[in-house]
């Protein structure tokens, strides 16, 4: 349990080998170091790992933890409405363009008509959604996801001695083989 408390210390993250620097890239302006808002547990609430737990069980346990459910619901709460919205907007655009050219030909300003505005609107909405998604993932998911990754890593390392877990996956991190046939059954 000490390891998990250490993990809450932000300084630990910097030495994290998987932690690529939070530099603000294209479309991700500023605010790179905002922590996960309070109220969201950063480590699994049901952290009861230890030697003896097999891989399948560890994943099931993490899957049930409040921290993981929170990461997943944050991901879904963004992705499901955003995907629905851009898909409907695109299909509506294609159908209107092919089925109702008269509507699309209506003039707006100068040579610019509804069709031009809608087409450029598709470009604009794509850029905006890209920016929003990158920002949302960086601020609301990345840190919690990394903590969970560490939690799984710590606990699988404790059970590393389990035989027969070195399949073709051959992970350099020493993690057990997730694609290994039967890895899931081990937990049963």
């Amino acid at each position: 349990m000490e390891k998990q408390q250490d993990r809450d210390d932000a300084a630990v993250h910097i030495e994290d080998p998987w932690y690529d620097a939070l530099a603000a890239g294209w479309g991700e302006p500023g605010g790179a170091d905002d922590p996960v808002p309070p109220g969201a547990p950063a480590a699994p609430a049901t952290a009861v790992g230890g030697p003896g737990h097999r891989t399948g069980e560890i994943y099931l346990e993490v899957h049930r933890s409040a921290a993981f459910q929170e990461v997943r619901s944050r991901y879904r709460r963004f992705v499901v409405p955003a995907t629905t919205a851009f898909f409907i907007w695109y299909v509506a655009y294609v159908i209107t363009a092919t089925a109702a050219p008269a509507l699309m030909a209506r003039q707006v300003i100068g040579a610019v008509n509804v069709a031009m505005v809608a087409g450029l609107g598709q470009f604009l909405s794509t850029f905006l959604l890209t920016w929003a998604y990158a920002r949302h993932a960086r601020l609301r998911r990345d840190r919690a996801a990394l903590d969970l990754r560490w939690a799984v890593f710590d606990r699988t390392r404790d059970t590393e001695s389990v035989p027969g877990e070195d399949g073709w996956w051959g992970s350099p991190t020493g993690l057990p083989a997730p694609g290994h046939a039967g890895a899931g059954e081990d937990g049963k």
């Binding site: 890239g25 993490v62 294609v94 890209t130 998911r141 890593f153 694609g179 899931g184």
Partner: protein, 530 residues
């Protein structure tokens, strides 16, 4: 087209080949020969590098020359392509890039097979990946052949055939010697060249109209011979309901197919983390979006400056619109500026084809070696090493693509690309989304979903007006056309999703809670990712 253009274009293109071969040699000297190195370039590219490489993989000559040409000929209807090609990246960004990076290792089949009974699923998605790649490859080879004829004036059949053979041989050298690392650097060099070329031309077009886009559009409408109709949809796809449905079908295939293209998926494995994969997609959306915006300016600019009639008389499909525009912007035929710009555009187009071809060949050789060979060999662990098989596979696929490229050289390139997207959207995307997001998905569902998309897509094409029953068909004298649309996506994509659901519903296999939990945790957190 005078000899000056040809000489200078050949010099520039030889320089590109020399530089890329130097990269390949340099990279293969430091190579360790592991699968990690060959398929994923050691997974150490930065998001920016990978973003340029993704853009380089995606922006084919078909989009540079083809879309601008379509806009120059049909106005707004050409623009519909650009929109579809860009919006598709939201599917990749939201649903695929990070999760695939976290769950997979080298190929699409890695993601799907990790929670299923491995062998049948791996064979199914390996087969569909190879099918998509070969279709895409043939399109690029055919494009390379016609490009030579168009740009260098070498209209003889021998010149086209030798170009196809040459492109095929070069790509085999790049891929089998340099693997992913060399391929990635070639994509980056090409993406920079393409963006620079397109930006220069766009600036020149806008400068011609003193930055007044409205004046350019007015002029385009006036020069097109269609008046205001040129700026609104309907010139190409508005003729009858079959044409309209055909375009809707193509639009669906474009948007859903990108996320199922094997050479795009394999690019996410070249960066260390899911976060890096996301940032590379953000980079590539920025690059691809600005590139397609520039092709719109170039297309309308070509119509405004050259006139639609001139473009059509040079090449009925519009593929020469951009080279002709470059010639005019540089000062017209015979001038130094015109010669240089024309040669630059020609060289950039060649570079584009070579780079795309190398990327697709690498992805399909990975599918052959990592999915098909590894599953089908008799003794697991015996036989040749996977990387050796991949190198041989690259040579075999190269040879097959050369042969098919020579056979299919009269087919329309845009149609072939649209078909590759349709097959990717029908066979690869449903199984990928189901295995990432559906708890009850089973092995039978995965296998049915792949074949349930692949078989209808290919069958519907065989029964379409592209193959028989119309004057432009592959076999114009036969008539076994029963399906009215050229693009099968509208029917085959829903069938792929339906087959996956049906296979799962009828399967006796119990959904495996632990494996689903593992997939979800791994996908969203990166736990256990390589």
């Amino acid at each position: 087209m005078t000899g000056d253009h040809q000489t200078l274009a050949l010099v520039l293109f030889s320089a590109f080949i020399a530089v890329t071969l130097a990269i390949t040699t340099w990279v293969s000297r430091n190579r360790r020969g592991s699968a990690e190195e060959f398929y994923a370039g050691g997974r150490l590219f930065s998001p920016m590098e990978n973003g340029f490489a993704i853009a380089g993989d995606y922006m084919s000559a078909a989009s540079f020359l083809g879309i601008s040409g379509l806009i120059a000929l049909y106005g707004y209807d050409g623009m519909l392509y650009s929109v579809g090609f860009l919006v598709a990246w939201l599917v990749v960004l939201f649903l695929v890039a990070e999760l695939v990076r976290n769950c997979g290792r080298f190929t699409l089949a890695d993601v799907v097979a990790s929670r299923m009974c491995e062998r049948p699923v791996r064979i199914a998605s390996g087969t569909s990946s190879v099918a998509v790649s070969v279709l895409y490859l043939v399109a690029q080879m055919v494009g390379a052949g016609s490009l030579v004829a168009l740009l260098l004036g070498g209209t003889s059949d021998a010149a086209r055939s030798w170009t196809v053979v040459g492109v095929g041989a070069l790509m085999v050298v790049y891929v089998s010697m340099g693997g992913m690392r060399a391929t990635t650097w070639i994509q980056i060099v090409k993406a920079v060249l393409l963006m620079a070329g397109a930006t220069a031309l766009t600036v020149l077009v806008l400068a011609r109209f003193h930055g007044d886009v409205n004046a350019m559009l007015d002029s385009a409408a006036a020069q097109s011979g269609h008046g205001r109709d040129f700026l609104s949809p309907g010139l190409r796809y508005g003729t009858d309901w079959t044409a309209r449905l055909d375009f809707i079908s193509l639009g669906l295939a474009l948007v859903l197919g990108t996320a199922g293209l094997p050479h795009i998926l394999s690019r996410f494995y070249t960066v260390p983390t899911a976060r890096a994969a996301r940032r590379s997609v953000v980079w590539s959306i920025g690059l691809i979006g600005s590139f397609y915006l520039m092709t719109i300016v170039l297309g309308f600019g070509a119509a405004a400056i050259l006139g639609t009639g001139t473009v059509r008389s040079s090449n009925a499909a519009g593929n020469t619109a951009v080279p002709l525009l470059a010639l005019d912007l540089g000062g017209g035929a015979g001038s130094t500026g015109g010669t240089v710009l024309f040669a630059v555009v020609a060289a950039v187009a060649f570079a584009t084809i070579l780079a795309v071809v190398a990327g697709v060949t690498l992805a399909s050789s990975a599918s052959v070696a990592h999915d098909l060979y590894a599953s089908l060999r008799r003794r697991p662990g015996g036989g040749l090493s996977e990387v050796t098989v991949a190198r041989v596979a690259a040579a075999v696929i190269g040879a097959a693509a050369i042969a098919l490229g020579l056979l299919a050289r009269d087919l329309n390139v845009a149609f072939l690309v649209g078909l590759a997207f349709a097959v990717a959207a029908s066979a690869n995307l449903p199984v990928l989304l189901y295995s990432l997001f559906w708890r009850d998905f089973t092995t039978r569902g995965a296998v049915w979903s792949v074949y349930g998309g692949l078989v209808p897509a290919v069958l519907l094409v065989l029964l379409s007006p592209v193959v028989s029953g119309s004057p432009e068909a592959l076999f114009p004298h036969l008539d076994f056309q029963y399906f009215p649309l050229q693009n099968p996506g509208l029917v085959s994509i829903p069938l792929g999703f339906l087959a996956g659901w049906l296979g799962t519903a009828t399967s006796a296999e119990e959904p495996h809670e632990a494996k689903h939990a593992e997939t979800e945790v791994r996908a969203l957190t990166g736990a256990g990712a390589v």
